[in-house]
């Protein structure tokens, strides 16, 4: 018997550009011209790879790098243009959770439907049914049509079915991007269990944390080709360098203040608290400050927390602090780590580089302050109703505005 789980040799897949979709009968009957070679693109090109049994491999790469195409070929959903894949073992692929779910059917019926689609036998589902319901936390709603479920419940039920698959090789595409944080943690735990059981796992995700946790080795794809193969840490590091984010967090070294409260780090997130790496002018952003209280040599309700934005030349563009809007903090905070959130609607900055500084004060005394803790670039793109951008020298800001004649 061979010692590999998956062996990929010279695998290539090309797609036709444009006419990827079905054609009409008329086109087919009256269009005799051959499609030219330049109307193709290679989604995958000359992939060679061997995966050992029990290996957990993370596949990373930018959108369009060929990750999904590779998983689709391994799942037999689409077929290669050339090359060969040999697989030893029963494969289950999870390119989506809840495939085939029907809103009119009850949770119970959908478990059987989805489980069967995923390749489980009826008896297998029956024997695991209670565990599945238990894991999903859907409870008494199991006999309710799932159209009445919240989207979170649907995802939990769907993932629960998938979690009880017992293949030798498991292929997973970005399915953890759904559900709330608690459930994601639960799913990660379940998947760690699966990888720990010595199954071969192929995992695609943009969540580097999850990949690092689950995988031992990694593959970085770029433009349909393997850029690097190796240890998962190396791959993640190389990928991060390769994909520089437009937001740079700097460690806070030079501080000023008495240090009764210390700001540990700052990050820019979207409205939902998810960290963002590409900043655009018309975004609503949040700046989250993680802080820890060192001692109680200050009065919380008299605290002034400020955030400022400077442009690349060091000119101040914006300053805001909580007293400006009369939002004083209450005094109930105890020692420990917490975060302060500054929400800014319509960032409105012209394209370019900026830095963020912060200060925490009581009356006129600095508690903590540091410059340039975060630098970010607003990327070129037309915000609001702009058709072109004014030069930065004449307009530092981009605002929603209109013209008319009366």
């Amino acid at each position: 018997m061979e010692d590999y789980a998956i062996k990929i040799s010279d695998l290539s897949k090309k797609y036709q550009i444009g006419q990827l979709k079905s054609t009409s009968l008329r086109e087919s009957l009256f269009n005799f011209s051959k499609t030219k070679e330049e109307n193709y693109f290679w989604a995958l090109k000359d992939i060679n790879l061997t995966i050992q049994p029990g290996e957990a491999v993370g596949i990373i790469g930018k959108n369009g790098a060929g990750k999904s195409t590779l998983l689709k070929i391994l799942s037999k959903i689409t077929y290669p243009t050339s090359g060969k894949v040999e697989i030893n073992g029963r494969v289950s692929s999870l390119l989506e959770v809840g495939t085939g779910f029907h809103p009119e059917l009850s949770g119970r019926e959908n478990v059987f439907l989805n489980g069967t689609i995923l390749g489980m036998r009826r008896n297998e589902i029956k024997s695991k049914f209670d565990e599945i319901v238990d894991f999903s936390g859907v409870g008494n709603f199991i006999d309710t049509p799932i159209k009445h479920y919240s989207s979170g419940m649907k995802v939990r039920l769907a993932f629960a079915v998938a979690a009880f698959l017992e293949p030798e090789i498991l292929i997973i595409d970005e399915v953890l991007a759904v559900g709330d944080a608690d459930f994601q943690k639960k799913c990660l735990g379940k998947m760690e269990e699966v990888t720990g059981e010595g199954r071969t796992v192929l995992f695609v995700s943009h969540n580097m944390g999850a990949i690092e946790k689950l995988c031992t080795s990694g593959i970085q794809l770029n433009n349909g080709m393997i850029q690097t193969i190796g240890n998962i840490q190396e791959i993640i590091t190389s990928y991060m360098q390769f994909n520089t984010s437009s937001v740079q967090r700097h460690s806070i070294k030079e501080r000023r203040g008495n240090g009764a409260l210390i700001v540990e780090s700052l990050r820019i997130t979207n409205e939902f608290g998810i960290e963002i790496h590409q900043i655009k002018s018309d975004m609503n952003i949040r700046i989250e400050m993680d802080y820890s209280i060192q001692n109680h040599a200050f009065d919380f309700s008299r605290l002034i927390v400020g955030i400022g934005i400077k442009d690349f030349n060091g000119d101040n563009l914006l300053l805001h602090h909580n007293r400006l809007t009369g939002q004083l903090f209450n005094n109930s905070q105890v020692l420990g780590s917490h975060k302060i959130i500054f929400t800014l609607d319509n960032l409105g900055l012209n394209v370019g580089d900026y830095s963020i500084h912060y200060s925490v004060m009581q009356d006129t005394e600095y508690i903590d302050h540091s410059d340039q803790v975060l630098t970010f670039e607003v990327t070129s793109q037309f915000p609001f109703n702009y058709q072109e951008l004014p030069p930065k020298s004449s307009s530092k800001f981009l605002r929603r505005a209109e013209w008319s004649i009366e």
Partner: protein, 270 residues
């Protein structure tokens, strides 16, 4: 441990073992269709009875009473219902499986299973309507006091031919529709045309001799005649019906062949 090899070379072989392994999927998909079909309707399954009943009523009024079609010693409603039972099965399967692959595109793009399961499962769903039509036929047989004769033993053969033909057309249409959406619009037209091009509301004996070859190029002609022979003990289908039966097999197997040919590119095309 199972071993799989994936290459660019397309396999035209029908993997019956694999189809058998996925037998649960047939049932579960058919069950889903049935459950969903009458979900949130007030009358529920009663619709499956009302629909053929209303067609039967119209046929009886127009062809039986107004035009007075000659159906020999068979009462017209029974005569028509017998033909309708065969036709409704065929029309349902053709209609449903024709668009079945397009309808299941979300599944096809996300998971592997033998694609043939999808149109095949539609032939299971149609048995509900078929069963209802047959039950109504039996009721009428008792009502008109018409005895069941030994010719009933041939009935399974014609049921099988009906299934093969319905599936053959359905499989053809399901794979053609992926490539050419035009076929979506052809199906309703075929259903309408076929209803009158087959001996459902009238006996095939009405067709002039010189058009018989053409008439039996429609396999439903032979199948409907066969249904009547088996259930109502009318004269067996004539020699022309062999054209019908031959075509059933040609359409079914060529449909399988074309479906297998298209199967690998389905996820890329839809």
């Amino acid at each position: 441990m199972s071993k799989t090899t994936i290459t660019s070379a397309s396999s035209r072989k029908l993997n019956l073992k694999e189809l058998f392994d996925y037998r649960d999927l047939f049932w579960v998909l058919a069950y889903r269709d049935l459950r969903v079909r009458y979900a949130q309707t007030f009358l529920g399954l009663l619709w499956a009875i009302l629909q053929p009943l209303s067609t039967l009523l119209i046929f009886t009024l127009i062809f039986g009473r107004a035009i007075k079609v000659d159906t020999g010693n068979i009462p017209y409603p029974l005569f028509a219902l017998c033909g309708m039972s065969a036709w409704s099965y065929f029309a349902f399967v053709m209609n449903q499986s024709g668009t079945s692959i397009i309808g299941a595109q979300e599944m096809i793009k996300k998971i592997y299973f033998p694609r043939l399961v999808i149109p095949l499962s539609k032939s299971l769903v149609a048995f509900v309507d078929f069963g209802i039509a047959l039950a109504m036929t039996i009721v009428l047989l008792f009502y008109y006091n018409i005895p069941i004769t030994p010719s009933i033993f041939i009935f399974p053969v014609f049921v099988l031919l009906n299934i093969l033909f319905a599936l053959g057309v359905g499989i053809w249409l399901s794979s053609l529709t992926i490539r050419y959406r035009d076929f979506q619009h052809i199906v309703p037209f075929l259903v309408q045309l076929g209803l009158y091009a087959s001996p459902i509301a009238y006996p095939a004996a009405l067709i002039p001799e010189k058009y018989k070859v053409l008439y039996y190029l429609n396999p439903m002609s032979g199948i409907v005649e066969g249904f009547r022979w088996a259930i109502l003990n009318t004269p067996p289908p004539g020699v022309y019906s062999l054209i019908s039966f031959g075509l059933v097999f040609i359409i079914f197997f060529s449909g399988l062949w074309y479906f297998k040919k298209m199967e690998r590119t389905m996820a890329d095309l839809i």
